[in-house]
């Protein structure tokens, strides 16, 4: 009897080994075939919706048999939806991208992620990937200030955060929300650490228009609804500048928050093979170059070239993100911020 059990166990084990092999790091024809059988892959992302659909279009062109579903929202909203779904036993998401890098610390700790290192990531610098292969920086951007050039001249434009407290900016500012956006949360954490909460309290008395997404505030100053942006995605500013919108980026003299945005595969992804195909695709030099060229993003891929007209990162005073330091404070930051600026 034990022999039967033993051989059953062996069979189960070897089946495991076979699946492990099928889920290897490189995208193999077998993996693509298995992914095509799964039919689709679901990607929750916080990147701007048009950038996300641009990536999706490129993916569909390369893998016409794998349907890619994009669910885009702010990082904190993405986190909230995933938490809510998991709490209710719903398994929908395969691959996740969030600009709140601390999310990945939490997910890894709770053993919710699958370990998978895309071939390109092996060449990434160590600080941009998890040592155990659970996630890696897919894109990076800065949380920049900016202004509308039709409403503000370069001479009068603010040069840093403290300038924004000048009464002349009252009613002219727009800002995104750390309760919604991971970029804004990362930036708010950095600014609160640098300038203290009393700075934010003073800022909240400046009649700041409160938007949600850091993709929204660049669009707001581009339309002329507000003159100066307290925080917003650098990449959306590049997109606006490319589209000839009258906006200009300000790299604050106090420093500009540098926001890394990893992706990861969930351990219980309903489409594990398709998830791996997508994850590998996201990190290829070609996709990364697409993000940089069309999406205005920064890439940590060693082969990617920055367009000449963008200020190189080395010339910008950066406030590096600190996911581990931020993680225990997130709830408190959101609460204090909401009390000052509203929902």
């Amino acid at each position: 009897m034990w022999l039967v059990r033993f051989s059953a166990l062996c069979a189960a084990l070897s089946a495991c080994v076979v699946t492990m092999e099928a889920m290897g790091q490189e995208t193999t024809p077998a993996m693509v075939a298995a992914a095509a059988k799964e039919g689709k892959v679901v990607w929750y992302t916080a990147v701007d919706v048009k950038v996300a659909e641009g990536v999706a279009k490129a993916f569909r062109a390369e893998y016409p048999n794998i349907a890619l579903e994009v669910e885009r929202s702010g990082s904190e909203r993405v986190f909230q939806r995933i938490s809510q779904e998991f709490a209710s036993g719903i398994k929908n998401v395969d691959v996740v991208n969030s600009s709140d890098a601390s999310h990945f610390l939490g997910w890894k700790q709770q053993k919710l992620l699958a370990s998978h290192t895309p071939p390109d990531v092996q060449r990434f610098a160590a600080q941009y990937k998890d040592p155990d292969g659970y996630y890696a920086v897919w894109r990076a951007s800065l949380s920049v200030m900016g202004y509308n050039t039709k409403l503000v001249t370069p001479q009068e434009a603010p040069t840093g955060y403290l300038d924004l407290l000048d009464p002349k900016w009252k009613g002219k500012l727009v800002k995104s929300h750390p309760g919604y956006s991971g970029t804004s949360l990362t930036g708010t954490y950095a600014i609160a650490k640098l300038l203290g909460w009393d700075y934010l309290e003073k800022l909240s008395k400046q009649g700041v228009q409160q938007l949600q997404s850091t993709t929204a505030s660049p669009k707001s100053i581009a339309s002329g609804e507000r003159a100066v942006m307290v925080d917003g995605n650098e990449y959306n500013m590049f997109i606006e500048i490319e589209a000839k919108s009258p906006v200009k980026i300000i790299y604050a003299k106090e420093g500009t928050p540098f926001v890394t945005s990893p992706t990861a595969i969930f351990a219980e992804a309903p489409h594990p093979n398709a998830a791996r195909v997508l994850q590998n695709f996201l990190y290829t030099a070609k996709t990364q170059q697409l993000l940089v060229n069309e999406g205005g993003l920064r890439s940590v891929h060693p082969d990617v070239k920055e367009p000449a007209d963008r200020t190189p990162l080395k010339d910008i005073k950066l406030l590096l993100d600190d996911p581990a330091g931020m993680l225990p404070q997130i709830a408190e930051i959101k609460k204090r911020y909401t009390a000052l600026f509203g929902n």
């Binding site: 919706v49 904190e76 779904e85 719903i90 609804e225 003159a227 929902n343």
Partner: protein
């Protein structure tokens, strides 16, 4: 009597299933309506460890983070109600009593503002009334040689008052309808008497007509108040950017991770209590002073008052109100859908980019359209069947329980959408029935929410069919079911179709309950638009708004055909 007419040997075929069926319906409705409320009440008095506590309520009435939104909700809703009366009462009087030109068209446009989803109106008004880039303000600055930021804007929709203005634009049709119906029903004898005695028209209107129409106006005020109080989209779009919370946005905020369900449940209860209280007040006001008994002559029989030179300001009132609620918003949505940059001049700006994006690139569109249609069709079908059966059982007073049926079918009118959603979320996120994450939970929300409207609609059709016709069929040996299928159903066919379309339209535009119940797989068009709002993607929002409005108006055209057919 009936029993003796039955053939004794017909067996189960002739068994009258009405009574057990009716009991089953009462049970079904009770579960549908009462279960969410039960969970709401229970959760509001439990802490995280499920131990009894009143802490949530204490926080609700002490913490300024809740007291302020509650106060904002109350005063803005009252302001909307008053604004609606100030605009709609004269409009109703003009349409009902005077020789105002173009009455038919004004009525059609008022119907159009009635069916415009309020959140679409709010989207449009962001583009019109944003203080600096809004097109109305841009025109104002250009006209007077002013500059944005330097001078005050003509209108600022990102404020509590801006929200009141936009809410009123899509709520006034309720007050108009109440007032116009009341005026049509009030005989004009008294007004004529006043005119004969030499009072000028304005005096008659103020001292005779107004007091007579007052209960209807109060009723309209209450409906407008309740509408505004329970809206989620408009405050989220217009007030949140100004840092102003209402109760609905606050409840939504409590659902952000980690959800504070006990507080959310407690915060829902004031809305529920206010709604029930005001609806009772309304019933009392409108019930006590019914005018159908005053005289046999109806208002329309009287001679219309000649406006003369007053025609100009009268028409101007309609132009301004309907311009703000229909012409400008629809215009700006069309413009935004076809230009690259919504705030820039048209020249060199035209583009089909947003249409291409929405229908060929945006991977949410297909899913959201499909979900919206599936929900609309299933909710309308199930809802129509349900209200038809309930209407039949309760109006024919056939069996025990008919009172409860009518009560339960109309009770959801007192449950604001977002409150219903909190209740449904609490009721169906744990065993035995885990529905969260499926379309079923949203389906339940839609059916429950639309029950009262459907019931009213079908009841008016059923009342027109005299029971004698069914009795004839029963006497000839048919069962209750036969009579229903062969006699009543064909007679109320048009009413049933109208009910179906009403529920369908109500469902495809639903936002305030869906916003708490959807997941990535179960998104609808309305929540997709709300997601796009958070990243200021106005072009795609305009395209989806136009699509939704087009579907709505096609459906209304269909209703119109069927109701016209009935009249012929």
């Amino acid at each position: 009597m009936e029993a003796s007419l039955r053939k004794p040997d017909a067996g189960w075929r002739s068994f009258d299933w009405t009574a057990p069926f009716s009991a089953a319906m009462v049970l079904l409705l009770a579960v549908l309506v009462l279960l969410p409320l039960f969970w709401l009440a229970l959760t509001s008095v439990q802490d995280d460890a499920k131990i009894f506590t009143l802490a949530h309520y204490r926080q609700l009435f002490v913490d300024p983070a809740f007291v302020r939104p509650l106060w904002t909700t109350l005063w803005t809703s009252a302001a909307v109600g008053l604004g609606c009366i100030i605009a709609a009462a004269p409009m109703a009087w003009l349409v009902s009593r005077t020789d105002l030109p173009g009455k038919r068209w004004w009525r059609i446009l008022i119907l159009a503002s009635f069916v415009t989803p309020p959140f679409i109106g709010a989207f449009a008004w962001v583009l019109l009334g944003g203080p600096n880039a809004g097109l109305v303000n841009q025109a104002y600055y250009a006209l007077f040689g002013l500059k944005p930021f330097e001078s005050a804007s003509l209108i600022n929709v990102f404020s509590a008052w801006g929200m009141v203005f936009v809410m009123a634009l899509y709520t006034f049709p309720y007050v108009f309808t109440f007032a116009a119906n009341a005026l049509d029903a009030i005989p004009s004898d008294l007004e004529e008497a006043s005119a004969i005695l030499g009072a000028p028209a304005w005096r008659t209107a103020l001292h005779v007509t107004l007091p007579l129409a007052l209960p209807a106006l109060l009723g309209g005020f209450i409906v407008a108040f309740l509408q505004s109080m329970t809206l989620f989209g408009t405050p989220a779009i217009l007030a949140l950017p100004a840092g102003v919370d209402t109760m609905t946005t606050k409840i939504w905020g409590l659902f952000q991770f980690p959800p504070q369900l006990g507080l959310a449940a407690a915060a829902s209860l004031p809305l529920l209590v206010i709604t029930v209280a005001l609806l009772r007040a309304q019933a009392a006001i409108m019930g006590r002073r019914g005018y159908s008994v005053i005289g046999g002559k109806s208002g329309s029989a009287g001679k219309p008052i000649r406006l003369g030179g007053w025609k100009v300001p009268a028409v101007a009132l309609f132009v301004v109100v309907l311009g703000c609620s229909i012409a400008l918003p629809y215009g700006v949505l069309m413009r935004t859908a076809f230009v690259r940059n919504w705030s820039a001049p048209l020249e060199g700006n035209l583009s089909l980019e947003h249409w291409r994006f929405v229908f060929f690139e945006f991977s949410q569109t297909q899913l959201a359209l499909k979900n919206t249609f599936v929900l609309g069709v299933t909710a309308a079908t199930a809802g129509t069947i349900l209200v038809t059966l309930i209407g039949y059982l309760s109006l024919r007073k056939l069996v025990w329980g008919h009172r409860y049926l009518a009560f339960l079918a109309t009770a959801p009118v007192a449950i604001p959408g977002i409150v219903l959603a909190v209740g449904l979320f609490l009721a169906y996120t744990h065993p035995p029935l885990v529905l969260y994450g499926t379309l079923s939970i949203i389906f339940l929300a839609y059916v429950t929410k639309e029950l009262p409207v459907g019931y009213q609609q079908i009841a008016s059709s059923l009342r027109a069919v005299h029971p004698e016709l069914e009795d004839a069929s029963r006497i000839l040996g048919g069962t209750r079911l036969r009579a229903l299928l062969d006699i009543t159903t064909p007679l109320i066919r048009n009413g049933v179709i109208a009910t179906w379309i009403f529920i369908f339209i109500g469902s495809i535009r639903e936002l305030s309950a869906t916003i708490l119940l959807f997941t990535a797989r179960t998104k609808t068009i309305s929540v997709t638009m709300f997601d796009l709002r958070e990243s200021n993607d106005w072009g795609p929002i305009a395209v989806l708004s136009i699509t939704m409005l087009a579907i709505t108006f096609v459906m209304i055209a269909i209703i119109h055909r069927f109701t016209d057919a009935r009249l012929k």
